[in-house]
């Protein structure tokens, strides 16, 4: 298992009910796991525990068998792709070069080899021609791809993505999803949060449906994401319809 989470309990404030009330997850090599759930169900808190931004009360997070890794060690095992906000004026290549940091000796600047690998990562997501463009002057989809490239430059086996398709148009959503599927086909393990159940179907992923800090259902997308589960999860009527052999979730009426 590349990632194994056992009995994770986390409180934002001492004395208050836990935001995560016992989470178990497992992710193998080349697998995609979609984390679904309504706002406030604990998806973001779980990601923050995984990336070491938040400490948890009980339970354990094992990445490639290791727990309690230092931040540098963790950076060699797990790469995090945040939502593409930010208004940095740095060139895309400089943004992607940051991904080489855990591989660089302390106090060193990126070497020619680091620059080559960063360029390669940009090419991998198909935007190498934008290497010299400022991050805040490219489109939202390009920014998201650049952040994926930064994570690829880290050369980890595990990718954790926080709603990578949020605020992207349909075309860019498809491009980002296609990139995720290709990476998994190359053996990368991907944990991705999303508010769109059809993305789990498109990716052919396993899903974990979270609600109230617990995992309500887990398994293959086609088995877990039925109309009943989705309606319960989001507390609104949801239908699952099939088109061209792929199911999709939709809200039938308001």
């Amino acid at each position: 298992m590349v990632l194994k989470v056992e009995g994770l309990i986390c409180r934002r404030m001492p004395g208050q009910p836990p935001v995560l009330a016992g989470i178990d997850l497992a992710l193998g090599a080349g697998e995609i796991l979609c984390l679904l759930g309504p706002n406030g169900s604990g998806k973001t808190t779980l990601l923050q525990c995984l990336i070491g931004a938040l400490s948890f009360e009980r339970g354990c997070v094992r990445i490639e068998g290791e727990t309690e890794a230092s931040s540098r060690r963790l950076a060699l095992q797990l790469a995090y792709v945040p939502q593409a906000a930010g208004d940095s004026a740095l060139a895309l290549l400089d943004v992607v070069l940051m991904g080489r940091t855990p591989h660089m000796p302390p106090l060193a600047l990126p070497s020619r080899e680091d620059e080559r690998l960063a360029y390669e990562a940009l090419a991998r997501v198909g935007i190498e021609r934008l290497a010299e463009h400022p991050f805040n002057r490219v489109s939202g989809g390009e920014r998201q791809l650049a952040l994926i490239a930064r994570a690829l430059a880290q050369r980890t086996r595990l990718l954790v993505m926080d709603e990578p398709t949020a605020s992207l148009d349909l075309g860019n959503q498809a491009r980002v999803l296609r990139t995720i599927r290709e990476l998994a086909a190359d053996g990368m393990s991907v944990l991705v949060t999303t508010h769109q159940p059809e993305h789990a179907f498109l990716l052919g992923a396993r899903v974990a449906a979270m609600t109230g800090g617990r995992i309500a259902a887990a398994g293959a997308a086609r088995e877990v994401l039925c109309a009943r589960t989705l309606s319960d999860l989001y507390a609104t009527p949801v239908d699952v319809v099939e088109h061209a052999g792929i199911p999709s979730a939709c809200v039938p009426r308001l």
Partner: protein, 354 residues
């Protein structure tokens, strides 16, 4: 949010520089330029000298040979202007580099070295020492200690309030600054209006007029130590621009790095202010000037800011001592020049920020 497709992005947009034209140029030429400005500005003053005469005196002093210049010229260059020019460069470089570090660290283009209270604390320390009729050395020491105390207090308050966020730290700095400014006002209120009060006011306006070699010898080690630390840590500092959580997942120990950067920037700013008095605007303005010249990447921005800051303060100090019959306080001139220059920079940089 822009929604044009990934495939339709115009490669020529945003200047589309090729690989050969990377913005990595531009720091090396600043060094000889700074030297030239230093030599020329040593000619400024009530006793104008040509650059050739200045160079002759400096070279002779360096190799230990007698120079062709009259002893009065030698005295003006070596005893009066050399320490002053070195101090201007040291103070300018320290303030500008600390400003560049803070703007990146706090991800705020309006951050200046004074943001955590170092200037307010130094002002209070200096005023207190003057009120107690301390020596010039005591005033310097008290300014330095006051600056460190103020930043220490801001960090303590921020630590107590909690979550280690940069915003809480900035707010704590604001509170501590206000407190020390009020205390300084109280000292001014009780100071003897015939001698102590003018001395305090003049110190707070900033000046390099009384800087000697001994002052430099005391301040330079701190300033150079701080500069070296900032320079060595320029890559991790640049990664901070990705955001705290993101930098952590890239292997940067964010909390420790922030403390080291603040301590380094505080040491150098306190040392600078202790010999020059309060000199505003340099730390805010010069990094923006540098950004226009070499681009936003901190790795080049930091050395460019230090060199430009040194040159900027040299020119401003030259103006202070030669524009009028009486010498102008440095802090007034940096502010009067700084405000309009900042507006021009804002107008030029608007495209980058919007």
């Amino acid at each position: 949010m822009r929604t044009d497709g990934i495939g339709t992005a115009d490669a020529a947009r945003a200047g589309g520089k090729g690989r050969g034209g990377r913005r990595r140029g531009g720091v090396e030429w600043l060094l000889p330029a700074l030297f030239a400005v230093a030599v020329v500005s040593m000619g400024f003053g009530h006793y104008p000298l040509s650059p050739a005469a200045v160079l002759d005196v400096l070279w002779s002093a360096l190799v230990g040979a007698p120079s062709a210049q009259p002893p009065a010229v030698e005295n003006v260059v070596l005893a009066v202007r050399l320490p002053r020019v070195l101090a201007a460069m040291l103070v300018g470089a320290s303030l500008a580099a600390a400003g560049a570090a803070y703007q990146t660290l706090f991800r705020n283009p309006l951050a200046s070295p004074a943001i955590l209270g170092v200037s307010a604390g130094a002002g209070f320390g200096a005023a207190l020492a003057m009120l107690l009729y301390g020596s010039a050395l005591a005033v310097q020491g008290a300014a330095f200690a006051g600056g460190l105390c103020a930043v220490g207090a801001a960090m303590f308050v921020a630590g107590r309030l909690g979550n280690g966020s940069a915003l809480v730290l900035v707010l704590a700095g604001l509170v501590v600054s206000a407190l020390f400014q009020a205390l300084t006002s109280a000292l001014k209120y009780v100071a003897d209006p015939t001698d102590t009060l003018p001395a305090i006011v003049f110190w707070l306006l900033g000046s390099l007029g009384r800087v000697g070699m001994s002052d430099l010898a005391w301040a330079a080690p701190f300033a150079l130590l701080g500069l070296s630390v900032l320079f060595l840590l320029r890559w991790p500092t640049q990664v901070l621009e990705a955001g705290d959580d993101e930098a952590r997942t890239l292997g940067i120990p964010v909390g420790a790095l922030r403390i080291v950067l603040i301590v380094a920037a505080t040491l150098m700013t306190a040392a600078a202010v202790s010999i020059s008095g309060i000199v505003g605007w340099v730390g805010l303005l010069v990094p923006h000037l540098a950004r226009l010249l070499v681009g936003p990447a901190y790795g080049t921005l930091l050395p460019a800011s230090a060199l430009l800051g040194a040159g900027y303060l040299l020119l401003v100090d030259g103006l202070c001592r030669s524009a009028f019959a009486a010498e102008l306080p440095l802090g007034i001139v940096t502010a009067v020049l700084g405000a309009p220059v900042f507006v021009v920079i804002l107008a030029k940089a608007r495209r980058q920020w919007s």
